[in-house]
Symmetry: C2
Subunit: 339 residues, 2 copies
DNA sequence: TTGTAAGCGTTATCAT
DNA sequence: ATGATAACGCTTACAA
């Protein structure tokens, strides 16, 4: 591993000059010839930053805590796979920026206060929170903010503008989906909830608002919530529901994960999916693409969310004084596939 | 954050002494009074090691690359959840030792050579490979070994003793399971394979050996491999299979993941699980415990594997000269639950 | 525009 | 047994 000092010797300049050039902080105070020479030498010798030294000099750690609520595996059990997508994207982005990570799997059986306390001990430059519920995350974030520790939440929506967060506007998604279907002339639109233990209220709210639901009673007839979330049970209850509610012109799914079961039910009833009955999902693209036929859906926009979040975090780390909380409140993005 | 220098001032000794005491390397060359005083002061002021400084001084990075083959989310799709368990355990253990991690999600569509090349670029103290297939991992590990870079594989079995790895002895598990059932007086033992795309040959081998299978033809009658791996399909084909093969005194599952479907099939046939027909699974405990009734199974021993692996890695990092490859070739561990 | 030098916190090598 | 002191690689304020 070649160092800045060695590069400086080779280039016949001082270490400081090399440091400035390589970190892009020269702001025109290094000659063009020297600059090019230094960059060329660095490239040729495969120079790589020594982050331990950089960290020590800057008083940082170049470590980021990526925090999940509960152990990683628990998210598989409740079918919340978007966590893994978020995690994968986050660590990828951070790695590209030279940051190492610490994955903190926070025990969910603690008070918010204890979590906050525990986090403040961490020797890291910043915190990323993946898919935390608002109620649990509020205190810890406030605590970190008070200590001036940079943090972002990905997959949590805060009512106030005090924190940095990214989330898809859940309610808008369902408003958007139903309105779109109405515009297509499909009046008899239904919702099937396939979330454990059940979808958030905002899903129902959006669905109701999009359809301009006249009454809770009317609304309840438009929603199916299978008793058990197994493909078979979903299939069976979907069949019953569709038969009972005929004609079913469109179905909106609260989540992509069990979509195949719904599609299978329709197929078994000889309903032409996409034309006879439109089906629109919501969630991870990967599960939509696995369906047969592939599921048209609203995307979670995870790439955009995570990229925005990490970028905001780095801003906050590098320019703490000028930083103000920012959020990415994503608007619905529709992905048309087969259904 | 208090530093060693400040502690030294407070204790009225030199920094070197404090460093020795705190790192436990004094080997009796620091007086008892001073030692206790230093430790007490450190505790009182909440001293925490500055890993950037430590790394710089020791010429290390205090970073470990945790490598997966393919993106994290892809393992959810093929139902290989043990990866998340391994990952969770590994990062937890490393964190406790002060190491930060880099999660390298290696693109599976590359040659082994390119992967090896890519890995050697990493500026880390060591490598952990989670659940890699032997064929892909061999070259990279060899390459790292040649460069003297510490590495361990968790969930890969190497025929030679050249590398450090941990794995459950897969074949022995199925020998053990079938023999156990035979000893219980259950002669008609069957295997149901619920792995995508299919279980490894060692499973079949172990199963055959345990039963002392007289011929491949005979063996084939004892194995069910459902066409499609959906709960419904597994349920249906299990029913057919069990009816056709009556009496079925015991069933061994290649993996816990779809166990519930098999149990449901038996339940629907009014077969008394555990007494009438014993069912034994293999894999993640978490899926066994979720079953109803809870699935008796052979455990993967992930905690032990990961702990052993990380420990070996740290040994290798700290004493590279005396280190020789070690492996944990785990023997079957049976977990008796309801079935 | 460029170079010098101090410092970041820790470890390790010497003297004492 | 203990204490100076010199690295480790990089950043940055300041001097030239």
């Amino acid at each position: 591993m070649i160092t800045i000092v060695e590069l400086a010797k080779l280039a016949g300049v001082s270490d400081a000059t090399v440091s400035l050039v390589l970190s892009g902080k020269e702001r025109g105070r290094v000659g063009d010839v020297k600059r090019k020479k230094i960059l060329e030498l660095a490239r040729a010798h495969g120079y790589r930053t020594n982050f331990a030294a950089k960290a020590l000099a800057e008083g940082r750690t170049y470590r980021i805590a990526v925090c999940t609520l509960g152990k990683l595996i628990q998210h598989a059990i409740i079918g919340e796979f978007s966590l893994y997508v978020r995690l994968g994207l986050a660590v990828e982005t951070l790695r590209a920026e030279g940051y190492a990570i610490e994955i903190a799997q926070i025990d969910a059986n603690q008070t918010s206060e204890r979590i906050a306390q525990e986090l403040c001990q961490e020797a890291v430059d910043g915190f990323v929170f993946l898919s935390w519920p608002l109620s649990v995350l509020e205190k810890p974030l406030l605590c970190l903010k008070e200590k001036g520790l940079p943090a972002v939440a990905s997959g949590t929506r805060f009512p106030s503008g005090d924190f940095t967060w990214t989330d898809m506007d859940h309610r808008q998604v369902f408003i958007h989906a139903t309105r779109q279907l109405l515009r297509e002339g499909r009046k008899r639109v239904f919702l099937i909830d396939t979330v454990i233990p059940r979808c958030p209220p905002s899903t129902i709210e959006g669905f109701a608002e999009g359809l301009a639901a006249p009454s809770p009673r009317w609304l309840s007839k438009r929603i199916l919530r299978p008793e058990v979330l197994s493909p078979e049970c979903i299939r069976r209850s979907t069949r019953d529901f569709v038969r009972r509610s005929a004609p079913v012109e469109a179905i909106v799914l609260s989540d992509n994960y069990y979509a195949q079961a719904v599609l299978d039910a329709l197929k078994s009833m000889r309903i032409r999916i996409g034309t006879g009955c439109r089906v629109i999902g919501y969630g991870d693209r990967i599960f939509a693409e696995q369906c047969s036929p592939q599921l048209s859906h609203y995307s979670l926009g995870l790439e955009e969310q995570v990229r925005f979040g990490i970028h905001a975090l780095l801003m906050q780390i590098e320019q703490p004084q000028t930083y103000t909380p920012r959020r990415l409140d994503m608007t619905p993005t529709y992905v048309q596939l087969d259904t």
